[in-house]
Each structure stands twice: as structure tokens, then as C-alpha cells.
Symmetry: C2
Subunit: 132 residues, 2 copies
């Protein structure tokens, strides 16, 4: 493991959810507004993103259990591996969401319906490709 | 930054590309076979994944430049922020691909057409959702 495999959060996510029990279980493009608040020194990295564009958002689910390998599927009730589930519990608890940009003002991007806690570390924003 | 934001590679990716100049510039579902070789101790995490299923693959682009914030778009030639591009160069160089599973044997999953170097650290595998 080199030092380069250390993540550097690029900002944080503002959501309505203050405790895990409040978090919705899925992304919902019609859910409440959430803000991707980029660190001010990284603002130059947003050049070219536009309202309406679909972005792929990566974030760090810091309260996840990283050593669990199997758990019951919420959908089927059956035991499944974490790599076959979207549970936050996994060796590298990186959340992924694809959502359209509702608004960009300065270094704050608004989207709707993220499923994570208020204050979640933001890791990356990429333009989504078709099929994502 | 807490110790929890350190990534733990879950395996590595076998591709035909030994140097960066050989890597294709995009994911190609019809490209050559590539293997996601999971660490043996994590094999239990694969339970429930099946041939044909679309998976979202996260990997670590360890040769990326992490301090670049703007570069020219390969597609348009225009200057753009790294968060508006799919370039590996970004603060957290996590690659994302969505591809169908061609084969699973033990702890090795075969897919086609990844764009990364042979030996790239594998970070996560998730079932892709519709729209991803």
C-alpha cells in the first residue's frame, strides 16, 4: 500500500439526513435537494459542467463496516456477497450515484435524492457516460 | 483525514496493457478479455454474482497526476476542469466502468474492454443499476 492510495476528500455533501436511520435506502432523482460543496481551492476543476448534465458522484461512506463479506439482501432476504449488493458495507465503502445537475453556483452543485448522511466526504465528480 | 479514508485494494486487474501508451482511451464492451482477480480471502463476497450480470467496477489509476485541475478535452480540444472530463488526472483517481460479466471462475471475473494498465489495483465491484 503506497501513500498514493490515500483518499483526499474534495469537499462534502449536504443532505437532510443527520442520522443513519433517516437516510433513504436508494437514490431518488425526485428526492430532496442535496449540495455537493466543493473545496474552494478545487473550483477550477468544475469548468465545463452545466445544469442538466448527468454526473457520476463518488463519496465515502465513513460509517460502513469494512470487514463484512456477506449479508442478507434487503430485496430478496437471501444471503449474498457484498460485491453482489449495493450495501455501504464493503472493503472500500465508496458510494456511487448518477444524477443530473440541478444548479451550479460558485463551487456548489445541487442534485436531488442522494442517500447519504449530511457531511459525507465527497471524492469525485465525473461526467456520466451513456449507459451509466 | 482519518485512517478510514485509506483504500484497501481488493485484488488486481489483468489487462493486455503493460505501458500507459498501450491503454485504449475508452472502455469498449467488445474489447479484449480482462480479469478482475479478487484476493482469495474476499471470495465470499462474490456470492450472488452471475454471468451476464452488469457490474460497476472501481479501480485505482495509480499513475494519474492528482494535482491537475484543468486540461484540454481530448474530444473538443477545449480547456475543461477535471470534474468535467473522464481523464485519470484528478484528486482521487478512481476509474469507473460498467460492463457485463463474461465468466466467473473461483475468485476471477472476466469482463471485456477495460482501459487500464495490467496490475491496476481493484477497489470495488457492485451490481450496476439500470441507468448506470
Amino acid at each position: 500500500m503506497t501513500p498514493q492510495t490515500t483518499l483526499k476528500p474534495i469537499g462534502e455533501i449536504v443532505t437532510p439526513y443527520k442520522v443513519l436511520a433517516d437516510c433513504p435506502r436508494n437514490i431518488d432523482p425526485n428526492g430532496p435537494p442535496c449540495e455537493l460543496v466543493l473545496r474552494g481551492d478545487l473550483r477550477d476543476g468544475l469548468l465545463g459542467l452545466a445544469t442538466g448534465q448527468r454526473i457520476l458522484i463518488l463519496y465515502w461512506l465513513e460509517h460502513a463496516e469494512r470487514s463484512v463479506l456477506r449479508q442478507n439482501s434487503r430485496r430478496t432476504g437471501e444471503l449474498a456477497g457484498v460485491f453482489a449488493l449495493r450495501t455501504p458495507n464493503r472493503p472500500n465503502p465508496i458510494g456511487v450515484a448518477v444524477l443530473p445537475i440541478e444548479q451550479i453556483i460558485d463551487s456548489v452543485i445541487t442534485v436531488r435524492g442522494l442517500d447519504c448522511l449530511d457531511g459525507t466526504p465527497l471524492l469525485d465528480i465525473k461526467p456520466a457516460m451513456s449507459g451509466e
